[in-house]
């Protein structure tokens, strides 16, 4: 590998990128847009969510407590149920998104200072979940000594989202989602575009080597990936107070691993795709399972076995574990060595395949 040649290819790529306004806007705009969308969508304070109630206690106190919750305006009564099972059915059928159950021993629980009312929510909807959390904060205006007896009068059970996502949980994952979306696509398209425009026929008639060409093309995008990472982190900390409990160095190391994994995958796609459109389709073929199976949307542990096996093959899955571990739990890369090694192996395999499959020929 000739460093001067490698450098020339990188500079060329950066110069072209600088003139490509649309790609630049996407690189910079996408992190901001996604962060704001995901972050604030979760924070939305909705009102008038359809609700159902079952009051098995039927005491004056229980009826007053339910009235108070309804009066908060967050929920609106749509159905009364006879049993908790009916509530769950209503919830599952999607006819209500909040269900309130008052157990028969409501008065006893209140006295014991245990949770006295259960609010069940459709946790698959982040918005609803946020609203339910808000509901749980609502003070039950009950006999004067009520507050003294219980700190947490209502328990919230999230049915379909037991991890209880919040911006704090979403932002670290979002770094990975954005990197997956942009990095794979940009490299795949960057190479296929040269083929489409005819530049590749010129390039492969020069003494430039396959490795120089491939590495020189992806390194500029690696730098861009780190810029994107920084943007999401900065905005996350600034707008949503997302903590970075582990070391910043580890955060960037984990991000670099994901960036390189995605770039190698992009290269591999570029060796197979015949047009920019095909490259895009192939990118989404990888992107969709990444979003769904990596643990970003749904918890890994709740997925069926085959889905978990597929998830293990996706770089985003490993990154999710790394970044959540580092940022939220204060772990370091050493603690999470299995996922770091998995990413490194992915990079090595993809890059080797890509360089092998790329020929300095037209057929």
């Amino acid at each position: 590998m000739n460093l001067r040649r490698l450098w020339a290819i990188m500079i060329k790529e950066l110069r072209q990128l600088r003139r490509d306004r649309i790609t630049l806007a996407m690189i910079m705009g996408m992190p901001v847009l996604q962060l704001v969308l995901f972050g604030y969508a979760i924070n939305l304070n909705l009102r008038h969510l359809p609700a159902a109630v079952v009051d098995q206690a039927q005491t004056a106190g229980s009826r007053a407590a339910v009235q108070d919750l309804l009066a908060s305006g967050v929920i609106e009564l749509r159905a009364t149920a006879q049993s908790p099972q009916q509530l769950i059915d209503l919830l599952r059928e999607g006819r209500v998104s909040v269900a309130i159950a008052v157990p028969p021993d409501f008065e006893r629980r209140k006295l014991d200072g245990r949770e006295a009312i259960q609010v069940m929510v459709d946790g698959s909807d982040n918005v609803v979940q946020a609203a339910a959390a808000q509901l749980a904060q609502y003070p039950l205006n009950q006999p004067d000594d009520f507050h003294a007896m219980t700190e947490k009068p209502i328990s919230v059970v999230s049915f379909y989202n037991p991890e209880r996502r919040s911006p704090v949980n979403i932002v670290p994952g979002l770094v990975g989602v954005i990197l997956t979306m942009t990095m794979v696509l940009f490299t795949a398209v960057a190479i296929v575009r040269e083929t489409e425009r005819g530049n590749m026929e010129l390039l492969i008639t020069t003494p430039v080597s396959r490795t120089e060409l491939m590495i020189g093309k992806v390194l500029p995008y690696a730098a861009i990936g780190l810029v994107q990472t920084s943007m999401v982190l900065l905005l996350g900390v600034w707008l949503f107070d997302v903590p970075i409990r582990g070391s910043l160095w580890d955060v960037y190391m984990a991000s670099s691993l994901l960036i390189l994994a995605n770039l190698s995958l992009g290269l591999l796609i570029s060796t197979r795709a015949k047009s920019q459109f095909q490259a895009m389709q192939m990118t989404f073929f990888v992107f969709l399972p990444s979003i769904l199976l990596s643990g970003f949307m749904f918890p890994y542990d709740g997925m069926p076995r085959p889905a978990q096996w597929i998830a293990e093959l996706l770089p985003l899955t490993h990154f999710m574990r790394l970044i959540r571990g580092i940022m939220l739990r204060g772990a370091d890369l050493g603690d999470l060595w299995q996922d770091s090694v998995a990413l490194a192996a992915f990079i090595a395999i993809m890059l080797t395949l890509a360089i092998r499959l790329f020929h300095k020929r037209l057929d």
Partner: protein, 314 residues
């Protein structure tokens, strides 16, 4: 090292059922401007790509500058320049950036690079546009830039694929001057074209038709073979004269140029007198004179002969 710059035997390329290049034999001497003449789709680009090592031949052997292709294609790449049919420099880089990039990739040292690029910019009259984006250049300027890019490393052998198809006649003349300058410096040039006037300027040429090499030699050799078979007919009723001539079995082709007819005869001993007589009998008064054959005639003869040959049962 072999005598010729390019030597190819039985070169064949198939794309599925389509035979794009069919058993072509080629011998290109060094320091020669060698033309590939043929209409669109005749296999010129495919042949050039195989010679550069960009396409793998379906059959046949290639030796370029003493290297076996495609096996030694990587070694060959430092010694050849290739100007693609479609403009393949970077539209979104400036003229200078394009040349500097190619110079580095071709392995010029930093110091060489600067002087070489300055030199090329001046030589190809691009020095007043060095900051302009390549994509915004005119056809003629793009073509000069592409040529400069192809020779930045002073290749021994230069492949040019229809370099003048997108430029005006003035630029074409100018471009050919540049080619002969390079040839004088010792560069072997293989250039494809579908213009007869350009083919005529080549030292040697090969005529391709639907993937077959149907004739090759110097333009003079090729035309000499048709001596005595070409006539010019001037008539007041050219359409009538053309009909009469088309009826004669020994007439290969009749082309109308203004009010004149250019007649190409089959092999044999046709004379001015017999033609004039034939036209008179058909009621078309005409003057007939003998004219020297040109490459267009060579092309017609070569492609017709090939077609006739193919129709015969094997």
């Amino acid at each position: 090292m072999s005598e010729s710059a390019i030597h190819a035997q039985d070169l064949t390329k198939r794309f599925g059922a389509l035979v794009a290049v069919n058993a072509v034999n080629l011998e290109v001497p060094r320091a020669c401007v060698y033309g590939f003449l043929g209409p669109n789709g005749s296999g010129k680009s495919t042949t050039i790509r195989m010679l550069c090592g960009l396409l793998t031949p379906s059959e046949g052997d290639i030796e370029v500058l003493g290297l076996r292709i495609p096996e030694q294609a990587e070694q060959l790449k430092q010694h050849i320049g290739y100007m693609t049919q479609k403009f393949s420099l970077f539209d979104d880089l400036s003229v200078r950036q394009n040349l500097e990039f190619l110079a580095t990739v071709q392995g010029l040292s930093r110091r060489e690079e600067k002087t070489r690029v300055d030199d090329l910019l001046k030589r190809y009259r691009l020095d007043d546009r060095e900051e302009q984006l390549a994509g915004t250049l005119s056809g003629g300027q793009k073509q000069r830039l592409a040529l400069a890019g192809a020779i930045v490393h002073r290749p021994e052998l230069l492949f040019l694929d229809e370099p003048t198809s997108a430029v005006d006649p003035e630029s074409r003349r100018d471009f050919w001057e540049k080619l002969f300058e390079l040839a004088d410096e010792g560069t072997t040039i293989l250039v494809s074209t579908h213009y007869m006037d350009e083919a005529e300027r080549c030292h040697r040429l090969a005529i391709l038709d639907t993937g077959n090499l149907v004739a090759d030699g110097t333009p003079a050799e090729l035309t000499a073979k048709l001596e005595g078979r070409t006539f010019l007919v001037r008539s007041g009723t050219p359409r009538k004269a053309k009909e009469a001539l088309d009826d004669r079995p020994d007439v290969l082709s009749v082309a109308q140029i203004g009010n004149e007819l250019r007649v190409l005869m089959r092999e044999g001993d046709a004379s001015i007198d017999s033609l004039r007589h034939h036209l008179e009998q058909a009621g078309a008064q005409a003057e007939v004179e003998s004219v020297p054959p040109n490459l267009e005639d060579v092309f017609v003869v070569a492609t017709r002969r090939h077609a006739a040959h193919q129709e015969q049962p094997a």
